[in-house]
Amino acid sequence: MTELIRLSAAALAQKLVAREISAVEATQAHLDRIAHVDGGDDGVHAFLHVNTDEALAVAAEVDQARAKSEDLHPLAGVPIAVKDLIVTKGQPTTAGSKILEGWHSPYDATVIRRLRAAGMPILGKTNLDEFAMGSSTEHSAYGPTRNPWDLDRIPGGSGGGSAAAVAAFEAPLALGTDTGGSIRQPGAVTGTVGVKPTYGGVSRYGAIAMASSLDQIGPVSRTVLDSALLHEVIGGHDPNDSTSLTDPLGALVEAARMGNVDGMRIGVIKELQGEGYQAGVLTRFQESLELLRGAGAEIVEVSCPNFEYALGAYYLIMPSEASSNLAKYDGVRFGLRVVPDGAPTIERVMGATRAAGFGDEVKRRIILGTYALSAGYYDAYYGSAQKVRTLIQRDFDAAFKQADVLISPTSPTTAFKLGEKLDDPLAMYLNDVATIPANMAGIPGLSLPGGLADEDGLPVGIQLLAPARQDARLYRVGAVLESLLEASWGGPLLDRAPELRPDALRSGGTADRVETSTAGGTN
């Protein structure tokens, strides 16, 4: 069983197709792993809800279909975890917030429909910062997720649950959402792969909105190829999302299998290194550049001078949109309703519900956004921020004239300690300085493990960026860099992660098939 959970999705899929293992076995192995490492005080706590019965039922259906030699999707039977910001029928969806505690969506997100159509069992819903607002999962109303590399450290955020689940071998694949780095930064600090597709490349229908013009669903995995495989399942046009692109996705899996970067120009973004970046991060980053150069890529330096304003502009646009998107949580139609004492007018019910249901970070952003959109301030704040957005797009346009793909560290630092930045929102926000520009411009980005920082032995992420609709380039370069790095390490980076709960593991096998009813798993 331990072997099984360490397989990549691609390898697992092959064994399923070859009938070496069944989908039920594969799903059960991951459920067992979740039961083993996720719960308890020092558990990973990647999951808010574990979907045991449905996942096994879907797996059994896949096995039956395979027994009858029916046509199946190549990933049929490969289980997956889903960030709890994406709505699912039959399971609760909380967005990491008390305001949605116990709420069940009556409809499936488009990406969930596509997972179901592919026969992929959904293992459960993963933890996140409330409404995806944060870089550490510490803003989850249901408690933080822990980094499998060091349980005292953050797994990144907002999608720390999905990244940790994949890093802890609780799931081979997961879905995340990325508004300012929420897929890529957790990937970087947990030694996993995360991709933010081109804006519009994956339907947002059913992803609970934080900032509509920035949000994007994307794959989380342990290998570049696995992300490409999942990207092809979830991507493509959706008539339910007006911002969904109509053009074809491109051959992503093929790109991941291409195996060369000969003659590709890779641009190093001058502004995304140096001050504020941890030394160990920069060392690993330089090594990756050397490996790519050695593989025949041309390394060039590009400048994106307006990135300086990206963070500031992001923290106007994102809260502005969020303040409007989160207005619907008022206790009238669904979710938490708090009726105050005395004469409960609708205004007082709405106020009390929102006061009790939202956490501090969510309130902070709603207040910021409400202010930024107010008459008299709109032009100075929201208007100026949109202009910065245009400037950032122009920086990228210019950079992509000089380079096919851009490269930078994903995050300036490795995983920080739980609680370390909780009282300093600005320090927390700075963690996303390298990932935010891609969201502002709508371009795709990928983070892959670049090794461990010398000073703390924690994973470092390498970020690749491509022009809009050129997601395939990320997979091409990412897969080559991944194979060069793994060759230099003598195996996947996660092989070097500490074993979780080794004692229990020796005693266990499949014996401790405990259903983890983790916090927030309200039914």
């Binding site: 994406i86 969806t93 009556p106 229908y205 007006s242 409007s324 207005a327 709109y378």
Partner: protein, 504 residues
Amino acid sequence: MAMATEDILTFEEALEKYDPVLGFEVHVELNTQTKMFSSAPNAFGDTPNTNVTPVDLGLPGVLPVVNRVAVESSIKIGLALGCKIAEKCYFARKNYFYPDTPKNFQTSQFEDPIAYDGSIDIELADGTVFTVEIERAHMEEDAGKLTHMGGSTGRIQGAEFSLVDYNRAGVPLVEIVTKPIVGAGARAPELAKAYVAAIREIVKNLGVSDAKMERGNVRCDANVSLKPKGQEKFGTRTETKNVNSLRAVEHAVRYEIQRHAAVLDSGIAIIQETRHWHEDTRSTTSGRPKSDADDYRYFPEPDLVPIVTTEEWIERLRSELPEPPAERRKRLQQDWGYSDAEFRDVVNAGVMSSIEDTIAAGVKPAVARKWWMGEISRRAKVADVEPSELGVTPELIVELNSLIESGKINDKLSREVLDGVLAGEGTPTEVVEARGLAVVSDDGPLLEAIDAALAAQPDVADKIRGGKVQAVGAIVGGVMKATRGQADAGRVRELILQRLGVEG
């Protein structure tokens, strides 16, 4: 219910001192199959909260998708109002918390409406034409419907709780906004009514709305301000909300002019606010303060892409437009040969389309007018409904008319036949049979009745024989009385004259 406690001036006094300035915001509900941003049915009168999808309830994760037909209807309205159509326009979010608005923002248009800068000519009852400038027509979604329970008034004040029905939430609306209308003077109330009637006619004629004011398909917010005669600067305005009949629009504007005048006369400033219209007292009461600085925190709707209108698209829609109402009226009057006065009466009675349909079904224009302006209008007035709402079909009039022309019934009987048909007793022919209303056409019984009548009034018979043919009416009357009206008066006259050997 509502109390009209405020002082008002007489209308004449008000107009002596002040010039009214009007402005209208008319909301038109489109009759698309589905809603503005979802696939839920756009239907009236269904069980509450059944015509909803996750999008209409604003559930977490949902996204809007624009209804193309609604956009086309909006463009058609814009074209019919002589507006320019935006090459590119955006939706915007109007943010405010209210439980009838599922997302707590309304998806609307703000800086760039789909149609702008138009005008329409409004014909008043005496034929004067007044041009009203249109500032913009923009697309938005309707809110749900709140029903306040437990209070005595049905209003939110005093209610214990409120019920909300989201069937209407997301129904496509076009809001048509005029520029300030200056110079209407004493005709302001009439113009107000005529303007809303014209908008209603246009959208009905376009086929883009059911245009039933009683159902809220067309809703009017009427802005009124006064300025002292000779002053350029506009006064402070009030906005009387949801005035939902043509008569009410006229009365509300008249009332607000009188009220403003009284307030201004007493040296008090008008408060910029919304006003509620009360049909029972024909007066308005204060609503909520409304300042130009109401902060809805508008920003471009990031979940929707801009609407780009191509030249071909607009031209195709333009080619689908029906004949403009003014031209149509001109053509119909000519075709039907009505005098100016006759035609204006027809228009004012709201029966032009009914007459058109009736003529198309096969009766002469004069006959159609006689029915719609006569018996049917009379009945409508009694029942307090529109003539078109009585259930009289063109086919029914054709059949009644052919029964009259063939002499089977006469005018008087035809009213009884109509009663029977409207009471559901069957077709006119069936009613004639069932009620035994056929005109007596067998000359035998008629001749008996004529002889009896002549015998009863020998002096009259002598006069007729002596050449005073006009005296025949008295004998005809006697015969009609004797046959309980079931005779053809024309035939009776003929027979009397024959009997007396006189040439008619």
